[in-house]
Symmetry: D5
Subunit: 97 residues, 10 copies
Amino acid sequence: MLFHVRMDVRLPHDMEPDTLSHLVAREKAYSQQLQRSGKWPHIWRIVGEYANISIFDVESNDELHTLISGLPLFPYMDIHVTPLARHPSDVAQGIDA
Amino acid sequence: MLFHVRMDVRLPHDMEPDTLSHLVAREKAYSQQLQRSGKWPHIWRIVGEYANISIFDVESNDELHTLISGLPLFPYMDIHVTPLARHPSDVAQGIDA
Amino acid sequence: MLFHVRMDVRLPHDMEPDTLSHLVAREKAYSQQLQRSGKWPHIWRIVGEYANISIFDVESNDELHTLISGLPLFPYMDIHVTPLARHPSDVAQGIDA
Amino acid sequence: MLFHVRMDVRLPHDMEPDTLSHLVAREKAYSQQLQRSGKWPHIWRIVGEYANISIFDVESNDELHTLISGLPLFPYMDIHVTPLARHPSDVAQGIDA
Amino acid sequence: MLFHVRMDVRLPHDMEPDTLSHLVAREKAYSQQLQRSGKWPHIWRIVGEYANISIFDVESNDELHTLISGLPLFPYMDIHVTPLARHPSDVAQGIDA
Amino acid sequence: MLFHVRMDVRLPHDMEPDTLSHLVAREKAYSQQLQRSGKWPHIWRIVGEYANISIFDVESNDELHTLISGLPLFPYMDIHVTPLARHPSDVAQGIDA
Amino acid sequence: MLFHVRMDVRLPHDMEPDTLSHLVAREKAYSQQLQRSGKWPHIWRIVGEYANISIFDVESNDELHTLISGLPLFPYMDIHVTPLARHPSDVAQGIDA
Amino acid sequence: MLFHVRMDVRLPHDMEPDTLSHLVAREKAYSQQLQRSGKWPHIWRIVGEYANISIFDVESNDELHTLISGLPLFPYMDIHVTPLARHPSDVAQGIDA
Amino acid sequence: MLFHVRMDVRLPHDMEPDTLSHLVAREKAYSQQLQRSGKWPHIWRIVGEYANISIFDVESNDELHTLISGLPLFPYMDIHVTPLARHPSDVAQGIDA
Amino acid sequence: MLFHVRMDVRLPHDMEPDTLSHLVAREKAYSQQLQRSGKWPHIWRIVGEYANISIFDVESNDELHTLISGLPLFPYMDIHVTPLARHPSDVAQGIDA
């Protein structure tokens, strides 16, 4: 089941550089683990912004919230989730978009 | 080069049913031709809305505008385009997201 | 799996009264069938508006889109869907909220 | 009398972890006491956000404001209340929605 | 129990003058009956707009929706309801504001 | 001459409790003095928010700005003023609404 | 007493040219009469838009609403009124700004 | 003196094809005459929308309004003008940007 | 050439009172010098807000930006500029509005 | 390939003057290097705001994101990118807009 997720990062300007780089490293590891598991099939940078658009593929709403709220940057992001369904014109019938 | 496109369909309520079904059929054929060509790799329905979120993969801004403005439903849609870049955490290195 | 759905009805002012009453009757029958099936556990009127807030309980995003897009009033409504998860403070553990 | 309440938590990033965990624990206890009393029949997490959608069942506007403004997290939340009425298509006649 | 209601009138430009004047006359009679009954204690014109801000005093959300949806102009208005509570600084203790 | 005023209080989270309670006490005294003078005939709490909707009755725009900008909480509030006129359906002819 | 008024004209595209030119002529005459009376001291065109920003100088809110709602184009305009007060840095002391 | 102008075309769906094509042809001729005169140095299509972003180079606000309001499509466009100044980092010193 | 300028002051709550009063005094002197020069013919307080609406009369966009960005409060204000043109109904022909 | 970029600078008020002037100097040098390379053909100040509108000319979305995210002021700006295409009425055929 697919969901469209937009994440905008809002870091406080007074965060310690070490804290920040540690946080970003943990975020990257967490994200890549989910990507490799197939739960997070797409992640794209929005050009010019510290933000991404992602597609998640999960079993349930609860699973999606657990994955997103576990992001190390979760307290520093504005996040909006949009549920997706199969489009009737989609040629990829039944295959994960 | 990837672009995120959201399309919201706004049909006038007084459109003739035949005109409408013909238009929708042409839209579907046009979309599927582009999907098969690889220019339109993803199309998803937004749950509960007559709207879609799509990913286009094109050579240039001009090509993208030509493709979108050729949509049979183009005069009846609100469309917003967001350019995408590769995300530094993306595990699919160089492979089309 | 629960979803929060807000529906705002926007009827064209020149709709024939007979067409309208027939449409509203079909909408009511459709809604009540889904309520009785357990798919649509809650529907509330927003005070002062021709709008409702509903909770749907479905197996998947695709099922939810099928149910909503089948509403007789679907072409005349602005609809927004918000996916819900279990809240950690919810005392109704595991029981459908 | 039912009310729809959306609460978005906005915690200052420099809050002490102990202060925060104490506050969240008090919030949970307060919420669960109201849920058990029947005043707060539903609480759901909005997927991907530090926010909830709740339904309150109270005797009056004054009672509702007293309950909400007593929330330990009240100074850290954006809250919006929407009054609800019985929907004419609701099959749960007279039974609490 | 008090509610703040804003009503913005949006008349179609092609309404027949007779239909319109009849509708406005019925609206006025309906409003004045509710004012005299004490259910609609205040109505003010917003300067420069075809809109009003009103205060209603009702027993319940259901009663308020019944009163508002019975307005002859209801199909031609955008309406937003805000529930009100007693303010702790209000000197009119217990007396209707 | 009546004006509709909405005030949303935005207190900084790091304000000293003593400073805050002193400020709120001065605000209450200031408000009640104006209420008793007839300049501020109505004040209501918006349910669930640290905000009020008020009606002021003043001689001029200048007087209204002087009264509002003298509020002890003025530096901590978002305020929006809407001028009101007599509504043609108002039954309270000439009597203060 | 000064008020800032923004007016945006929204004409239906199917208005008869004669009806329109007659309406615009009446609007101009009405506006110029008020300008000459001193009630409407300033009117400016917003560059690129069919809209104006005006300053009115009136005795009361009721007078302002009477003047604005008497505009021949009133049914075809979105209008927003902002009350103005003397600015403490204004060098034109007591003289109409 | 440079101005940034965004124009969004909103054509009524029931416009006659001949009327429309005539209108668009006149719009193109009008625009190209201004471009050749140097008054309209840039015009770009916004990708995916029936809209453009333009730069005008004029002597005064009045001249700009005259040029824009003379556009054949003016009654069918939403237009927003933003005045531009020389940027302190601009390397094109004194030369028209 | 006239421009409409709205300025909203957003002071940080922790600014030293001396710094603030010095800043406000400099702002007033700067503003009054421009008013006396004829560059800033009108300044009005928006009732109930720490904001003003002003009219500037300048030779060019560059001059206007220089004047506004020189305001002592410039770093603490949200500012929006709207270019104005002569209105065809304006009776003050050729005379500065 | 052209892109329209709006950048709004939001500096924290407590930034050290030396840090700020160093940052602004680096920003200017970075911007001018890109302007001279032809990647950033236009930059304009928005009158009255600490903001600019720019046109970038790049090979790809990825290149654009690399250029923008390398701006020394990037962490302190709200940035929005709009892709541009050739306009059918543009007289500058094939020549850089």
